[in-house]
Structure formats: C-alpha cells, structure tokens
C-alpha cells in the first residue's frame, strides 16, 4: 500500500492501514487523528469505547515516536493496521526499532504510563519485542458496546 488514503474491504470487514509512517510526534498525532476519523465512520460507537480505543492507539504510536529509534540517530517508521471483523477491533502497531528499557534513572512518577494505560483500556494487549523491532497488538471485543465491567468508570 503506497497511498495514505482511506481503505476498506467490505468482503472481510473494515480496515485502516498506514505504512512507513516516519516515527515522530507530528506524524503520531496525524495518524491518531485519521484513525479516529475512520473509527467514527465505522458506525455507532459507544462514546467511552471510542475514547478508549483512540487513546490506546495513541499510546502505542507515542511510544514508538519517543523510544523506538532513540539510539539509531534517525527516526524509523511505523506500520499501523486496524481491522474490524464483526464486533472485534484489532489494531497492530509495528516498528523496527527497540524500545528503550526502563531503568531506575528513567522511572519517575511523571513518566511511563503508556503501557499500563493500554493494558487498562484494551481487552487484550500484547507487546512482542525482538532485536528486529516491536509489535504492539491491541484487541477490543464487543467494541460497539459499553464495557460491562466498568460501571464505576463508565462516565469518567
């Protein structure tokens, strides 16, 4: 896929794809915004779910923009693919860099909430890291519905 245009494949559910996105903060925000537009167009989404999904995707993009290419000297790229199949939304964010490992010096109360946030927001989160890169996979089940286990947090 070479053009950054809205894509859909009615035969196998809706898709949102962005490839070779340069991993910086501006592009992370732009892709997040485009993803949110696609998600909104996907149908009648619960307001809280919508917010959760966009935030989780943002955190994955932000981690890549901030950490993946820290030691490489130049920003690398991000590939994002979101697939809606039935009522399940699966989003994969991949980079070819290596996330900086957190050390006591980098840990502080004001940093490092991206991963805990993704874990709290998504129904399933996997992060696969290898020397070749990192892939984050977020899954949201029943993503049209309000979460049943979250009554305390439902309205924020």
């Amino acid at each position: 896929m070479t053009t950054p245009s809205y894509q859909s494949s009615p035969a196998d559910g809706d898709r949102f794809i962005r490839n070779d996105v340069v991993a910086d903060a501006h592009n992370a925000a732009r892709v997040r915004d485009e993803f949110a537009t696609w998600l909104r167009a996907s149908g009648d989404l619960d307001r809280v779910r919508f917010s959760d999904v966009v935030l989780a995707v943002n955190e994955a993009l932000a981690n890549t923009a901030e950490f993946a290419y820290l030691h490489a000297g130049a920003p690398g790229t991000i590939d994002l693919e979101a697939v809606r199949a039935g009522d399940t939304l699966t989003i994969t964010i991949a980079d070819q860099g290596r996330w900086r490992e957190s050390t006591p010096a980098t840990q502080s109360r004001s940093r490092g909430r991206g991963i805990p946030l993704m874990r709290a927001l998504a129904d399933d989160l996997t992060i696969d890291s290898s020397p070749l890169g990192t892939t984050v996979c977020l899954r949201f089940e029943q993503f049209h519905a309000a979460r049943q286990d979250d009554a305390d947090f439902a309205l924020g």
Partner: protein, 125 residues
C-alpha cells in the same frame, strides 16, 4: 461527511492554554488536545504560574477533547514540583479525561474534581 469541525480537521491536534487568577489561585485551562506534542505548552504555563506565588493551582481540563499519558505526566510532575503548601487540583470529567486518569490511579495523586467550582471550593478560592 457531515461532522463538526473539531472531529475531522487537522486543527484537531492543537491546544490552547489560558491563565486566570482568582485571588491567589491560578487556574490554568487547556482546550483541545493534550498529547506529547502539546503537553509542553501546558507544562510551561503551569511553571510560569508557579513563579507568581500562587496559594493554589487548578488545571482545568474541562474543554480538553483528548488527554494522552504525556499530558498526565505533566500533571503529576506539576503536582510534585509545587511545594506541599501550594494547593493543587485538576478539573476533568468524561471519558477522554477523568476516565483514563482514574484508570491509571492518578485521580488521588493529582486531586481530581468534576467542576471548577468544586475545585475552587476545596482549594480555597
């Protein structure tokens, strides 16, 4: 597509910060998006207000559409930076702001209020 401007345009990625004082209470309001790109603006504004010797700082996120972890980090850092005799609170409600703050356990750390009126009542002015 018939949608409101804030939903789909490129301008949706920006942030506007405002500073207002009620006596010695500084209220820093943000509107729009607070993420890794724009959170430095919020950080700068809070830092500037700290130099003016407030007795309390309230960060009002009522008009924020999107709050990323970068923005949350600014709130926690500001809370930690303000001395313990400066009151501190955050105004937020809704799925985009107060919900994620609660989900990662920050509501109690920063002091979360649903409205500016409640925050001002709790913090003095």
């Amino acid at each position: 597509m018939d949608e409101q401007g804030t939903a789909t345009t490129a301008a949706n990625t920006g942030c506007v910060i405002n500073e207002e004082w009620f006596g010695r209470t500084a209220v820093i309001s943000a509107s729009g998006v607070v993420d890794m790109l724009t959170s430095p603006q919020l950080e700068t504004s809070i830092a500037a207000s700290l130099t003016k010797s407030p007795t309390a700082i309230i960060v009002d996120l009522s008009d924020v559409d999107f709050l990323a972890s970068a923005g949350m980090g600014v709130l926690v850092a500001a809370r930690d930076k303000a001395s313990s005799d400066i009151g501190f609170g955050v105004v937020a409600s809704g799925p985009a702001t107060s919900r994620p703050l609660k989900l990662v356990g920050l509501a109690d750390i920063v002091g979360l209020y649903a409205t500016l009126e409640e925050a001002r009542a709790a913090l003095g002015e």
